[in-house]
């Protein structure tokens, strides 16, 4: 059993997979002025709300303290504990120094609470009483490094007190080591007091010793004391850096205002260095001491123009602009209501929010910020506009340029056009997003109905590009002439220029990404938008990588198949796929956490503090919530090659897979890796694998909720999980064929270091997707819930197919 606390509703592990456990500190009459004032007015309901708010902001456990001179602590605390027990999902930390109060609360609290706190101030009286109560009611206990002499300063003293408490609690009162959370306490390094210059070091060393010498025990810390006396902005940075250091030293839990902790990756390297110098009392060559350097540094910073400040030194306009750029939603509603007293809602949008989004777009274009952060900014935009909408006139925004977006017929790919929607609508345009699998007729109808200024079409596979091409004359004949923007992974500027532009009256524009779409819409407004042109001469002819040897060994033995025919496997444990996930492709490619202009160290930091934890959370959810349901339809079939065709024999019926041959040396063709009839024939593997449609629905929901960032993350995760399943199943098939014995694990990276190859239909060695027809005819993946659309797309989208060749020379190539 992992140590945990629980409420009526849930258990929370005290040692989080990604530490620290965050303990909300705002429902505290000593620490929060607001909470205290509410309590003095007997406004319990609002006190409860402060607790609930913190839970919403990510606190795992909520500290509750009502001690205040002149008030009845027992009544206040028990009342609020009762209310919290009903409403709060997060477990409670009962914060009191009075044993009566603690006992009364434990009695009524329906879960496993944490007691905050015991110490040795009175020489050991209260601690025994409280520990016994903890034992009786089953609670965890926070123990402070305080004894008769006061708060422990040095690591040795901190450890000494912890050890003494440990002996009382464990040996005498029967608690388990894992019931104890030691708080080493910390003093500020910001006061200039010479005796406190090592305060951070002592605390961190104390944590280290406790973790090492009192096995099983946990540690907790109120982090913000470290920076007492410094300016708010500097405090926030210093607290965050200190927390990170403490966690590295073994800290399990932190009492913090979760909303005020900055992810390390958001703290510039230089800021971090200045903090570390102060925390570790590092004297450098300069004559100033680390505190002076720290103070000077952050004063300079505050003066520089676009820097963050907690005070209202900035106008609310500037503040809003900045919050949007930073993707920071904190206090947004308040800020907007202040602004509404000065500006009309539409003016707030047009004068502050839209320019801020434009700035974000420019930063992205320059590679200064990454896509995930752009999406966070878009979320701020969306939330602001939603909050302003009730105050807007009906006619407000009626003059905005209108864009129709659709994914074409036979195509279920949603995310490409949705990202375009996010970018356009949050840059002030009116978007009509009419969904997936939309016929040309419906596009025409809706374009007329909404009288749109621009049409945007999207699709995933080449077949959808063909659909776009074929619908161009239809749009022309319907009398449309508004610009049409085309996008999707399988489109090229060449295809758009040569196959789509000529058949339509208005401009037809290739858009490589959502920002290209934004640019096109702006150009349309400026009347400068023109159709995509393509010139063979200026275009770069890309290389065709691949093995250059032509002589294919015809004598290679055919492995024996474990069975002949098709089979379905539906009970695959998702955890099996984890080692096959291509993490680099996920983080950098799908999620957009590229290194960009970052230094190596900064990027590593971003990965370890933000990206890796995100990934681990998703893995966790995969197992907990059954997010993915891997299923496989596969089989081995006798076949033989005839020129460029692989003829497959199933139940007496022949299915042909025609593969193209390279037009230049070495003239490779997939069929060459299979033996001819004369050579005795061969064996071909096929598979269709899917992770099901559940995760697709979850993903769509995030989009509905305007959780753009999480939307992209979950989608990217689902995509790489699908690939991992294909990689895993290919490995299983090599094992079954007896050709996988000496393989090394690939860690998800494409290295092709195994024997043979899997060729996904539609990829460069076999671009033709029509072979999905014969494949579906004999593999019948409908049995695992996969169907085929009219343009050869597999549904659910998170599905992939391939032919498996065992020949050692079979590798990827492009025709």
């Amino acid at each position: 059993m992992k140590p945990s606390a629980s409420s009526l509703y849930q258990a929370v592990e005290l040692q989080q997979e990604i530490p620290p456990l965050l303990i909300g500190e705002r429902a505290n009459s000593n620490g929060s002025k607001r909470f205290r004032e509410l309590l003095l007015e007997d406004d319990y309901q609002s006190c409860l709300k402060i607790a609930l708010d913190q839970e919403a902001k990510g606190a795992h456990v909520i500290d509750l303290c009502t001690a205040y001179a002149g008030r009845d602590e027992l009544k206040d605390l028990t009342t609020l504990v009762r209310m919290c027990a009903q409403s709060l999902k997060a477990p409670l930390m009962i914060d009191s120094t009075t044993p009566e109060c603690i006992e009364a609360c434990l009695k009524i609290y329906p879960g496993r609470a944490v007691i905050n706190s015991v110490n040795l101030e009175d020489g050991g009286v209260n601690i025994r009483r409280v520990c016994k109560a903890a034992k009786r009611y089953g609670a965890a206990v926070v123990a402070l490094a305080i004894d008769e002499k006061g708060m422990a300063m040095t690591a040795d003293e901190k450890f000494g007190i912890a050890k003494a408490i440990h002996d009382i609690a464990v040996d005498e009162c029967g608690l388990r080591p894992s019931d104890l959370l030691f708080d080493c306490l910390t003093f500020t390094v910001g006061s200039g007091d010479e005796s406190l210059r090592e305060a951070a070091i002592e605390t961190i060393n104390g944590i280290r010793r406790i973790k090492k010498e009192l096995p099983g025990c946990m540690t907790v810390l109120g982090v913000s004391n470290i920076s007492f006396g410094l300016t708010p902005r500097a405090r926030r940075v210093l607290n965050s850096v200190f927390l990170h250091e403490a966690v590295s030293a073994g800290l399990d839990a932190a009492i913090v205002d979760a909303a005020k902790i900055l992810p390390l990756a958001r703290i510039p390297e230089e800021d971090r260095e200045v903090c570390l110098d102060l925390l570790f009392n590092r004297d450098t060559a300069q004559e100033k001491n680390p505190l002076m350097r720290f103070i000077d540094y952050f004063t300079d910073k505050a003066e520089s123009s676009d820097d963050e400040s907690e005070e209202s030194a900035h106008t609310p306009e500037e503040q809003l602009f900045k919050q949007l750029v930073d993707g920071d939603k904190e206090g947004l509603e308040d800020l907007l209501s202040i602004l509404r007293e000065r500006l009309k809602p539409l003016a707030i949008i047009n004068q502050v929010l839209v320019p801020a989004m434009r700035h974000v777009g420019e930063l992205f274009g320059k590679g200064e910020i990454l896509l995930p952060f752009v999406l966070q900014s878009a979320e701020v935009m969306k939330e602001s506009v939603t909050a302003l909408e009730p105050f807007m006139e009906r006619t407000d925004g009626a003059s905005a340029t209108k864009v129709l977006l659709a994914t074409v017929q036979g195509d279920v790919h949603d995310i490409g056009k949705n990202l375009v929607d996010i970018i356009l609508s949050n840059n002030g345009y009116k978007v009509f997003n009419i969904g997936i699998k939309v016929t040309a007729e419906t596009v025409i109808e809706k374009a007329r109905e909404h009288d749109v200024d621009v049409i945007g079409l999207s699709g995933l596979l080449v077949k959808s590009a063909i659909v776009m091409q074929e619908s161009m004359p239809q749009y022309r004949e319907a009398g449309l002439d508004v610009p049409i923007l085309l996008g999707g992974a399988a489109l090229t500027p060449k295809f758009v220029a040569e196959s789509c532009v000529p058949d339509y009256t208005g401009p037809v524009v290739y858009c490589g990404d959502a920002f290209a779409g934004l640019k096109a819409v702006r150009e349309h407004e400026d009347s400068t938008l023109v159709s995509t042109v393509y010139s063979e001469r200026s275009a770069v002819q890309t290389m065709k990588p691949g093995v250059k040897d032509t002589a294919i060994d015809r004598t290679h033995p055919v492995p024996s198949a474990p069975f002949v025919g098709r089979r379905y496997v539906e009970d695959i444990d998702p955890e099996q796929l984890f080692p096959y996930v291509n993490i680099e492709a996920l983080f950098r490619g799908r999620w957009g956490y590229r290194r960009g202009k970052m230094g190596a160290a900064e990027y590593r930091e971003l990965i370890t503090t933000t990206v890796q934890p995100l990934y681990e959370r998703l893995l966790h959810r995969t197992l907990e919530e059954g997010l993915i349901q891997p299923k496989v339809a596969y089989g081995y079939f006798p076949c033989h090659a005839e020129d460029t065709t692989v003829r497959v024999e199933v139940d007496g019926v022949r299915y042909d897979f025609a593969f193209p041959r390279q037009a230049e040396p070495p003239y490779l063709c997939i069929a060459d890796y299979f033996k001819t009839e004369q050579e005795g024939g061969d064996i071909a593997g096929f598979f269709v694998v899917t992770i099901g449609d559940r995760i697709g629905r979850e993903t769509a929901q995030l989009y509905e909720q305007n959780a753009y960032h999480d939307y992209l993350m979950l989608h990217g995760f689902s995509v790489e999980m699908t690939d991992a399943l294909a990689e895993y199943w290919h490995a299983v098939m090599r094992q079954e064929l007896g050709i996988g014995a000496e393989e090394l694990p690939t860690q998800g990276l494409i290295s092709q270091s195994y024997q043979g190859s899997r060729y996904g239909f539609g990829y460069p060695a076999c671009p033709d997707l029509d072979v999905h027809q014969p494949l579906f005819a004999f593999l019948r993946p409908e049995a695992i819930g996969v169907s085929l659309t009219e343009n050869m797309q597999m549904v659910p989208e998170q599905t992939t197919s391939a032919i498996v060749a065992h020949h050692p020379q079979a590798k990827y190539f492009a025709v």
Binding site: V540, Q541, T542, M543, P545, G546, V547, K548, N582, I583, E584, A585, R588, G589, R594, R595, G596, G599, A600, A601, G748, L749, I750, S751, Q752, P764, Y812, A814
Partner: protein, 59 residues
Amino acid sequence: MEEKESSGRYICVNCGYVYDPAQGDPLNAIAPGTSFDDLPAEWVCPMCYAPCSQFDPLD
């Protein structure tokens, strides 16, 4: 500032393939010792065909 002298490796963000100048890229007939910056403009990832712009410096 100091970190400059690195191995000069680049990683494909689309598939994770690592271009190592010490190895070159035999599948594209690129000789060992060719730095990433010296790759021809038409060079693509030998595994997934992504262009140079889809590469990140690795270390």
